[in-house]
Subunit: 671 residues, 2 copies
Amino acid sequence: MARAHWGCCPWLVLLCACAWGHTKPVDLGGQDVRNCSTNPPYLPVTVVNTTMSLTALRQQMQTQNLSAYIIPGTDAHMNEYIGQHDERRAWITGFTGSAVVTMKKAAVWTDSRYWTQAERQMDCNWELHKEVGTTPIVTWLLTEIPAGGRVGFDPFLLSIDTWESYDLALQGSNRQLVSITTNLVDLVWGSERPPVPNQPIYALQEAFTGSTWQEKVSGVRSQMQKHQKVPTAVLLSALEETAWLFNLRASDIPYNPFFYSYTLLTDSSIRLFANKSRFSSETLSYLNSSCTGPMCVQIEDYSQVRDSIQAYSLGDVRIWIGTSYTMYGIYEMIPKEKLVTDTYSPVMMTKAVKNSKEQALLKASHVRDAVAVIRYLVWLEKNVPKGTVDEFSGAEIVDKFRGEEQFSSGPSFETISASGLNAALAHYSPTKELNRKLSSDEMYLLDSGGQYWDGTTDITRTVHWGTPSAFQKEAYTRVLIGNIDLSRLIFPAATSGRMVEAFARRALWDAGLNYGHGTGHGIGNFLCVHEWPVGFQSNNIAMAKGMFTSIEPGYYKDGEFGIRLEDVALVVEAKTKYPGSYLTFEVVSFVPYDRNLIDVSLLSPEHLQYLNRYYQTIREKVGPELQRRQLLEEFEWLQQHTEPLAARAPDTASWASVLVVSTLAILGWSV
Amino acid sequence: MARAHWGCCPWLVLLCACAWGHTKPVDLGGQDVRNCSTNPPYLPVTVVNTTMSLTALRQQMQTQNLSAYIIPGTDAHMNEYIGQHDERRAWITGFTGSAVVTMKKAAVWTDSRYWTQAERQMDCNWELHKEVGTTPIVTWLLTEIPAGGRVGFDPFLLSIDTWESYDLALQGSNRQLVSITTNLVDLVWGSERPPVPNQPIYALQEAFTGSTWQEKVSGVRSQMQKHQKVPTAVLLSALEETAWLFNLRASDIPYNPFFYSYTLLTDSSIRLFANKSRFSSETLSYLNSSCTGPMCVQIEDYSQVRDSIQAYSLGDVRIWIGTSYTMYGIYEMIPKEKLVTDTYSPVMMTKAVKNSKEQALLKASHVRDAVAVIRYLVWLEKNVPKGTVDEFSGAEIVDKFRGEEQFSSGPSFETISASGLNAALAHYSPTKELNRKLSSDEMYLLDSGGQYWDGTTDITRTVHWGTPSAFQKEAYTRVLIGNIDLSRLIFPAATSGRMVEAFARRALWDAGLNYGHGTGHGIGNFLCVHEWPVGFQSNNIAMAKGMFTSIEPGYYKDGEFGIRLEDVALVVEAKTKYPGSYLTFEVVSFVPYDRNLIDVSLLSPEHLQYLNRYYQTIREKVGPELQRRQLLEEFEWLQQHTEPLAARAPDTASWASVLVVSTLAILGWSV
């Protein structure tokens, strides 16, 4: 998991099936800390004054004859993390959330993770709505704007799929959805808007790529040729698509090594839309040295994409797009009969399955990542009892340890370092100003990951250094059982994750417990930490050999503690008693769970067998690496924490008594 | 299950998620028995000559300037079973399946269940395609008809959802989907076409209804008022919707007590479109006695529906429809801004949850149904060894026993009575001419159900009267474990069936086994045996207290045997250790499983506990009924077959040895 994963929900609702959508978000916050009914209103000092920017925005809306204006929290590429100069929503609201402004009101929709933050940052111009998705926004719009009203939006901030969900929801309501090419917030933002990033775009070394870009381009072209509708071009809108296709990286987006770009790959040309000045002569020659016509990369300016696609669309062409990542602004320019649509582009689909080199690279990055996490856990064991560690300083330490690993390129998301009740917020990240001290009396949840040139990692462990309560142990063990039950599941090839994710929940459900987020997501090779469309959400594609996904059940007790156990796993072939095409998972995260929190009596013999085999694997993979690096204290810790767990059997009491009684009976004892 | 359930797939693919779609259908048939390359071709005697009707159809197509014409296997109401006069596809192809005719070719798409039948019945005019769904049909169309070609269809035979799937698949292909109001097959069919049914339409006695029709009408109107878009009318296209709303029944459709109808329920009127001459004065007064304006039912002619809706649409109205059951022919007549669309109409959604009276009625029908099935199983035990029973005569007996039960109104679908390898066909039904003798050397599968005034039933049991093989026992027990694991699952309220249906498969998957159909479907009160949208398919709605669904895992070994264990279960609240809103299932089918086929060593203590509790419930529910009816032999049989099963524990060998060893150790024995 990572924080922004869930943040994607409101606008990527079809894509990530809004992790919090399974269960209604719980109202954690009670009363709004703001009091807008007094004069002047009572507001926290952290609040941002938005009166002037809202007034200016409404003037722009009036010019366009709009009753309402939608301000999504995404950018033109459906990035999960977005660059500062795309943070329109945060700028206009003072806060992160989906926003809509009418002539009279302004409102933000967000789930429980952001309620507290919203109240701290938003002034009284803004209503806070504690729901997510298109439906509640449209419901509100219908009461706020009159029949005949026009609802404006920036066509480069709504994907085709999102636009369709608005269009459907507004159907028959006599309110019109209006595409406004100029972003009205940007007009108001003016010179305050941060500039577009401009760092160099560089090519990955061959050692860190699964195939050359030429091989990838040929692969996509071959898919175009085999396609029933024979598209003449593929348009790539997601930044990770272009980064993957050309094995290029940069740092435009926090935590994601991408750069602003589009690619129009046609049957006879390769057109990369980006800022040409950012390519070194070395990179330019990497893209163009000794190439012949259809294999040369033409670099065109990023801002030309709309015009270029429009011009290309005039010919006898068919453009293949994925509707999840392509914006309505592109879609509305291409005549419908010239579109070949799928939910995901062929690049998204190909990237989802790692070849053997990519698998080896990702696995290697996870071994080193385990070293960093183990170093941190050992460090915590020594330092937490001293009372000198807080959530923020802890996060800095684990980031530092990761940074010391070979091929490190920073964290893959903002580290979630949460102690005690903060972990129940599930997506909490501490700040230098606002954090909690770690203590042996509380549980501590660490959800973190690294970007390495060979792979992206993401792991969550929850620990307790003192005496956990019986309920904490029970909840932890049920989460662990969920992780094991899903990890060891054998299922037919091409099963969708959604069909099997409940195995991670059953042990919790059985006791009336659950978690309100998704169970896992794909992950990339030095790409996204949440690499869709792999995962367990409803809109994810079927599981196939060679995919990587996280498996991450949890449990959160409001105001008390939070548990999550997250591993990354490779989808592999399973051997079954009767022959067939079956899959299972091979876990590639190599950090032991907390023995202090496991109630062995809840585990079946099969769970114990699985766990002890996994611990043996951790020893084999990470042990030698720790020894090689002379991390002997960490090696000792690892040996201790991967000792085989012994069975205790109160849960099989029925069997125990049957067997003891029968043994005694055999022996001639009366009972 | 029931045969036609799976038959719905090709055209209802979104609705029932094509039960066979999980896994690729297996090619059972090998070579086509027809040989169309000889002159004259070799054809089975059962083949129907379609040359003349195809020629006539192509003349009609030429008149309309069509390159292709789609012939769906449904009627204007998306009925699963259809009346004889709607059997256009069967008439033109000589067979059941989705059909498309071009000027040169004619083709049928169907899954493995119908391959043998197709070869027996179709002449050489027809190609057989062994796939289902819109995609393979469109793929074929794109190669068969030229660019610019027009693909015709009857707008009253494609639902909005199906039309959209064609429209999407043809997008960008330069082939046009053309709505042709006159059905071209009907023109060719001419006077041979069977007449529309004309039996009386009657009202159910109050004892058999959950609410009066006036209460139901008020309930729907109240939903209209509460709806955000305040629809002014609800249009009901599915026959079961009108039957349910008015508590009216007839016998237009085989196995389903429906009559051809539409309902337009507005805020101020109730317009029932049906053949008025079919209502007795008693029924007319039931609908109109002492009513005032908005609560009086106006009966208009069935054929008027299109014109009436068009006229109504001229006003300031908003018509609420369900896109799964409303035909494109209705949709294309209503201006889009006057439509309020959901996947299912409010009547479909309301009907899905049974009130307490409806629950009691459905349960009562299942007790009597169990009596009929138990009588048949006892009868089989005596008669199969004599060698006098075949699949067809057996089916007649169980239908007869059901017919003798109180409130019986015939079978709820064509009885699947399948011995040995025929059961591997999964949806096989015997005929008087083609059937197999039942034997103590083979497994026998019976999937059958009844229509009773109080409820509709559906149950499958698989039995073996001799010595089953170890593999047969293993497969049967794994199917049973699947049934139990899903039946006893505790899950959060509002979980969708799709998310939990894999619990019915896990025990099979574990060994590399699976089944290629869905896991269950809703069921009605003297309505459909497959009452959607309740069930475990991808497009089914979330589970809620008061729904009924079948739970029916299976296993099929081609050419050898087939196993299915199907029960109907009520969704009830679950009590959990920690409080929360959780659900589970209460099984209401009351026939024991076959002890001869259960390998107890595969069952966990929890499985045995569940099974023995279920058997106790069967004794309590059905025992007194058998005694009351003096069915003493059957009572004796029931007692025997519900004896508690005792544990055997080879599967827990690890525990056994641990415990025995430790017991011996305690006793001071050395081992």
